[in-house]
């Protein structure tokens, strides 16, 4: 039962952080290149645009949910399982979500990079 709880927790972390990443990415693409925008409307203008974006806040909310799911999962299982599993799986789910929801051009190079990062982080994050 504990194992099931642990994996449900890890799945929640992965789903919420991927959703957060996708929403933040969509919000920032809609706002536009922050560097160029800053020269046009100033830093406060840029901050204002970000803080008035509903998509940005839904992304932020997903990130917060991912954080609390991580805390929950950590109370059920060891950090040496939860941290690498959730961090590395997020690379793959985010790549899938970015391809289908953000229509990013995820070519062979990027799949390979996501899989290598996934494996590497699984070995590192203990």
């Amino acid at each position: 039962m504990r194992t099931l709880y642990t994996w449900v927790g890890i799945a929640a972390v992965v789903l919420f952080s991927s959703a957060g990443d996708v929403l933040l990415s969509r919000a920032m693409k809609k706002i536009g290149d922050v560097g160029q925008l800053r020269r046009q409307i100033g830093i406060f203008g840029v901050v204002g645009r970000i803080l008035t974006s509903p998509v940005f806040f839904s992304g932020l909310a997903c990130m917060a949910l991912a954080f609390f799911s991580l805390l929950l999962a950590l109370s059920w299982a060891d950090v040496s399982l939860v941290a690498p599993a959730s961090a590395s799986l997020t690379f793959v789910t985010s790549a899938i979500a970015a391809k289908f929801l953000l229509h990013e051009n995820v070519d062979r190079r990027r799949w390979l990079a996501a899989l290598l990062a996934c494996a590497g982080v699984a070995l590192l994050a203990r």
Binding site: D21, V22, L24, S25, M28, K29, I31, G32, D33, V34, G35, L37, I50, A87, T90, F91, S94, A95, A98, K99, L102, H103, E104, N105, V106, D107, R109, R110, L112, A113, A114, L115, L116, A117, A119, G120, V121, A122, L123, L124, A125, R126
Partner: protein, 145 residues
């Protein structure tokens, strides 16, 4: 990609791990927080290490948003996965541990990922993103001229 953009990516992979390490150090001094004494978490925010950690994480988040405004998510995530290497090195340095073979292998794989993704374009052209006709299965994928 220009120098400014590379600096934003470097800021992500430096300030994220620094924030984590400072938070960990600060919370180690505060000690384990129990549910009955949750108010200690609020107090912990104002201790120097934790405050510094939060400051670094805010810089990290700003740089992350900056990068997402001009690069694809599938570029930013692998390109900044080097942050996990920085975190592993910082924590082994602070805890005086040896970097074992597993970690060296992890460092190698992450570095390969960064190498692969940064040799490609950082963003999908807007036109292609917004009105992308789904290619039929098996149809050759059009490449951008």
């Amino acid at each position: 990609m220009n120098l400014r953009k590379y600096l934003v990516l470097v800021a992500i992979l430096i300030f994220g791990p620094l924030g984590d390490v400072f938070l960990k150090r600060g919370m180690g001094q505060v000690g384990a927080v129990t549910a009955a004494h949750w108010i200690q978490v609020i107090r912990a925010v104002f201790t120097p290490w934790v405050a510094l950690g939060i400051g670094f994480l805010l810089v990290f988040f700003a740089a992350y948003l900056h990068a997402l405004s001009w690069a694809d998510l599938t570029y930013v995530l692998p390109a900044t996965s080097l942050g996990y290497v920085v975190l592993a090195l910082l924590s082994t340095y602070m805890l005086h541990e040896q970097v074992d073979l597993t970690r060296w292998l992890g460092i190698l794989l992450v570095s390969l990922a960064v190498g692969f993704v940064t040799r490609g374009p950082e963003v999908t052209p807007r036109k292609q993103r917004e009105a992308r006709p789904e290619p039929a299965l098996g149809a050759p994928v059009r490449s951008e001229p």
